[in-house]
């Protein structure tokens, strides 16, 4: 069974759109706003920012995208963060990652007003995500989207063996923390893990966010596994082996092989990707409502 992120995200986005319309009818001067900062011109980042910008427009969120050159200093980026922090028409702030290597990412992300931290990457949001009996103001969009998909299909987590491949700050780590909080038995793997194939073979649920195209093969998984594929990799299109310019987007999972055995699987594209954008819309809407009430 396909975990259809495209379908679920449509439903969520249209609900947010309705809520925003309803709110804005009653409060004529108010409208949710998202401030986006992108540094440099990485092609993938530009694509993502563009998708987010379009979705904002669709659901009724005003977006302000500020693009800085790749050689911008940490101070200059901080300056934009501060402008967004004090701009009452900006309710959520998104710093598109990764930042260029010379930029101090921690300094930039920590400067985002915690009430506008719709990406959930502020240290105190991450700490509250990690700790039992704590709730962060905002949860990172990609892992939140995965959980929402899992819950939509009523896949139980408590007591299940969950294997997470990758431990990045933006995906692998927060999804591991969320799975732990839901009482799954979580194994977090990384590039140094030995015997990864045997570990995935024991998993009830596999979450992959390692950026290795089609790494997880059919014989890496057991019958009935649930597979969440967060990888986005661009490979030579196998249908056009003679045209190097023809690329195909694939995940970390070898979809054709693994879908034969999986009970549930996310496709790439159309799985986690649209859920990430929908969760950003939801987080921005929530930030807006919180700030309106204060």
């Amino acid at each position: 069974m396909i975990l259809d992120g495209r379908e679920l995200s449509k439903k969520i986005n249209s609900e947010i759109k309705q809520k925003i319309e309803g709110y804005c009818e009653k409060h004529q001067d108010s409208k949710p706003g998202l401030g986006v900062i992108i540094v440099g011109d990485r092609k993938d980042s530009l694509v993502y920012v563009n998708m987010k910008r379009k979705k904002c427009e669709e659901v009724g969120i005003e977006s302000k995208v500020i693009q800085l050159s790749a050689n911008s200093s940490t101070e200059n980026i901080l300056g934009i963060v501060k402008i967004f922090n004090s701009d009452p028409t900006v309710h959520g702030i998104l710093v598109q990652l990764p930042l260029p290597r010379h930029v101090n990412e921690e300094t930039v992300l920590s400067a985002v007003d915690i009430d506008k931290d719709v990406d959930g990457f502020h240290a105190s949001n991450m700490g509250n995500l990690a700790m039992e009996r704590r709730t962060p103001l905002f949860t990172p969009c990609t892992p939140l989207g995965c959980l929402r998909l899992i819950d939509e299909y009523k896949i139980p987590l408590q007591g299940k063996n969950v294997v997470v491949i990758g431990k990045s700050n933006i995906v692998g780590l927060p999804i591991s923390l969320m799975m732990m909080k839901r009482n799954a038995t979580v194994t977090v793997c990384n590039v140094h893990t030995e015997g990864l194939q045997e570990i995935t073979q024991r998993a009830d649920i596999i979450v992959s966010a390692c950026g290795q195209a089609r790494m997880v093969r059919g014989d890496w998984v057991k019958e009935g596994v649930v597979v969440i594929d967060i990888g986005i990799n661009h490979i030579q299109d196998p249908e056009h082996p003679d045209k190097p310019e023809k690329k195909k987007m694939v995940g970390d999972i070898h979809y054709e092989e693994v879908s034969e055995k999986a009970s549930h699987i996310t496709p790439v594209p159309g799985g986690v990707g649209p859920m990430t954008v929908a969760m950003l819309m939801e987080n921005t809407y929530r930030a807006f409502i919180r700030q309106e009430r204060n």
Copy 2:
């Protein structure tokens, strides 16, 4: 081989003592101070606080212990935290956990000035402990003590299968995060975990912090395993089965059985316990020096 926390902690404590003496000779008016808040009169908490108080005296840290009655309100506890926050002779603040159920633990711990958070339980310290390329100001004492012991005996972590039993905010969670950061493959188990015995059998390193006396038996582990036992449980002393008042302190690990197979093991008592106290001394000393320099 026994991982001797008593011995290592002595070494660390004596180094801290020397450093404090050296500093205080040069700066006559300065002395590190620790403020401790204990709410209620749980016997175990009183024992721990007393141990910490004595160790402070031994190494040259001034301690102020404030004991509040078990029925104290969150507001009253907050009041003491604020007094310690603004007291320039208090460089570290420790709120002895657990707090009584009616107290909002999050509110209390979040109120501790992050520069004095020597227990490392502030959300932003925990978030920075979790995230790659981030460093918390302070790391929780018990997991820090475990890591220090592991490093002292030159036990490698990268690529090793580490199984953590328990996911509490104060021990299981932070040690899991620290092991992840050191590139171990970490499996975090909880009370809902199925097949725990098979999971521990595959572990290169077992860290237990679940509070179940002698739960991990000899046949739960493989030959050559490294075992860190954080459990502190009081059971009827088997040598005095007829005297219910005679108690014996044991860990989560069945020491006699598991030590037959382990390459390294921490005893209870004398393993992690004294390391926790030593790390509190070290964190308090570090807080003192940081505040002196600002």
